[in-house]
């Protein structure tokens, strides 16, 4: 295996609540690796430990156990941070700055010269589509614009590794697509992207590898095809139109997830159901078939299963 860009071993973080000093285990031994040139999706429900993991990697939080390296440097490492771009969750920036001033500040912290700062800032402002907001202070930016500004400052140092905490959170569909396209573009440039999300379609659409985290522990880790068996049939989705007063008890006997609105009946038949026989019964009742579609396992199914297991456990 090639050298890992991020190598996390048994990472632990325990907090103490302010007054009662009660222990809260935010991370309970997280282990995973991110290979160079990959898009790595880090997925989990709210409070799973995604942001704690990312903040620990970025040196904002001190781990209470385990170890992690970024680009071969043990965290927290200033050398590594020279080559890393980071977008925090729901980014907060100095709202009195313009986008140009924000990027200039970021460039100064990376030690870039004035000419280089200017060049990169101009290119990035164009890349994230904020040219028209150039003279506005960040205070007047919408959430989507702030997210774009955050992406621009994360790329100011032309990083080898880009760490994005919930980059599509709060964006409209066009904004989400733009971010997904940007992530794919970064991978095409040879960069490694590590991003967290709880929007599974985003992860499924672009991630080369996925890790599912819940309750501070890794529940699954691998490529989407390793994690999800796309040949595994979970059932058959059927939609028919049937008279509103027709008795459909015989049709729904073995089905799950039954939904009937006016004359439309939608249900999920078991994977081993005799669909031909079911359709024949439906036609006898005068039903008209709208669609029949096999349902295969998706990342969402796996996610719900893994998160459900931790909740039950």
């Amino acid at each position: 295996m090639a050298a890992l860009v991020i190598d996390v071993k048994d990472l632990r973080k325990t907090y103490r609540t302010p007054f009662r000093r009660k222990k809260v285990e935010a991370l309970r031994g997280v282990t995973f690796g991110v290979e160079r040139g990959h898009i790595f999706g880090f997925v989990g429900p709210n409070g799973a430990g995604k942001t704690t993991t990312i903040r620990t990697l970025m040196g904002l939080i001190r781990p209470t156990g385990g170890s992690a390296t970024i680009l071969g440097h043990a965290i927290p490492s200033r050398q590594a941070r020279f080559k890393v771009g980071f977008l925090p969750e729901s980014p907060y920036f100095y709202d009195y700055l313009t986008i140009g001033e924000l990027l200039d500040l970021a460039g100064r912290l990376f030690g870039l010269g004035a000419h280089e700062r200017d060049q990169r800032a101009n290119a990035l402002i164009g890349r994230v589509g904020l040219e028209r907001a150039r003279t506005q202070s960040l205070k007047k930016f919408s959430k989507g614009m702030l997210q774009r500004a955050g992406l621009a400052q994360a790329l100011m140092n032309d990083p080898e590794l880009v760490v994005l905490d919930e980059p599509t959170s709060g964006l409209d569909p066009i904004g989400r697509k733009d971010v997904r396209d940007l992530i794919l573009e970064l991978r095409d440039q040879g960069k490694t992207v590590f991003f967290s999300s709880h929007i599974l379609t985003d992860i499924e659409a672009i991630a080369d590898r996925v890790a599912i985290v819940a309750r501070g522990q890794l529940q699954a880790h691998g490529t989407p095809s390793e994690l999800v068996d796309r040949n595994k049939r979970l059932g058959v989705d059927v939609i028919v139109h049937v008279a509103a007063d027709a008795n459909v008890d015989g049709l729904t006997a073995n089905a799950s997830k039954i939904r009937r609105v006016a004359d439309e009946l939608a249900l999920l038949l078991p994977a081993d159901a005799d669909v031909d026989a079911w359709l024949a019964s439906a036609r006898e009742l005068g039903a008209r078939v709208v669609s029949v579609e096999p349902r295969h396992e998706t990342l969402e199914d796996l996610f719900m299963q893994k998160v459900g297991e931790t909740v039950a456990g």
Partner: protein
């Protein structure tokens, strides 16, 4: 060395921009102008002491409002970075936390220096109105007031590195007041009970001697001095500044250490 200074300066510049937007500072400027007008009025009311009264009130205004501004800026500027999470996008870049703390202090110091210069200009305007020239004693007093303000800023930023603005403000204010009355504490050591002597000794050890910056009424080498008198030498000003710089360095080092250990969750 150059990249290090560049990073610290970047934070300082940003802190300056942030502080310059705080409207309270403009209110304080107005208060200082008001105190100078009051100095003129009170000077007129005194009998043959117009110049001394005007100068005393002018200088006291600079030290008082400068120090209060230093506490206000010191307790808020560092804390709000953590509270608003603006610090997340900063310390995840190749900057050490101690560089960040130094940058914040430097930015504050620039703001406070400009404020003290403006206060001084206002006072000199008031003195000119009273037909009083600016003597070297006044320049020395202004330098001492500037040193006091920068020392108080370091006290505030030290408390702000681990506490909330409310508590930091109380602690910093207490330290400033105690530091201002060190001659009284020294008297307490000589005359008070054993318990008072113990507390006074501890207070003198852990609090900067801010009274050095305002030496009126102090006894130095057996002589009672007044800051307005010519026998406050340049050497005294230099030594007071050295005392202040020593405390600034120690307080900032402690602030850096405490800030280094913090989690930004």
């Amino acid at each position: 060395m150059k990249p290090l200074l560049g990073r610290i300066w970047a934070i300082a510049l940003n802190t300056f921009r942030e502080a310059a937007r705080i409207r309270v500072l403009y209110g304080i400027l107005v208060l200082v102008l008001g105190s100078n007008l009051l100095a003129i009025v009170l000077g007129r009311m005194s009998i043959h002491e117009e110049q001394r009264v005007a100068r005393d009130i002018g200088l006291a205004g600079i030290a008082l409002f400068g120090s209060l501004t230093a506490i206000f800026l010191g307790v808020f500027l560092l804390y709000t970075e953590v509270q608003r999470r603006t610090i997340h996008a900063i310390v995840s870049k190749p900057i050490e936390r101690w560089e960040f703390v130094l940058g914040k202090y430097l930015g504050m110091a620039v703001v406070l220096t400009i404020l003290v210069a403006l206060f001084a200009l206002a006072m000199m305007g008031m003195l000119a109105w009273q037909h009083v020239g600016v003597s070297s004693a006044v320049v020395k007093a202004l330098l001492l007031a500037w040193g006091e303000v920068l020392t108080v800023a370091a006290i505030a930023i030290f408390f702000s590195s681990f506490s909330t603005p409310f508590l930091s403000g109380i602690f910093a204010l207490a330290m400033w007041v105690i530091g201002r009355v060190t001659p009284d504490i020294e008297t307490a050591i000589k005359t008070g009970s054993a318990w008072i002597r113990g507390v006074a000794h501890v207070a003198l050890e852990i609090v900067p001697d801010i009274h050095l910056f305002s030496p009126s009424g102090r006894t130095i080498d057996g002589q009672a001095v007044s800051v307005h008198a010519d026998f406050v030498s340049w050497g005294y000003v230099g030594l007071s500044w050295l005392h202040g710089l020593g405390w600034i360095a120690a307080l900032l080092a402690l602030a850096c250490l405490l800030f280094h250990r913090r989690d930004f969750a």
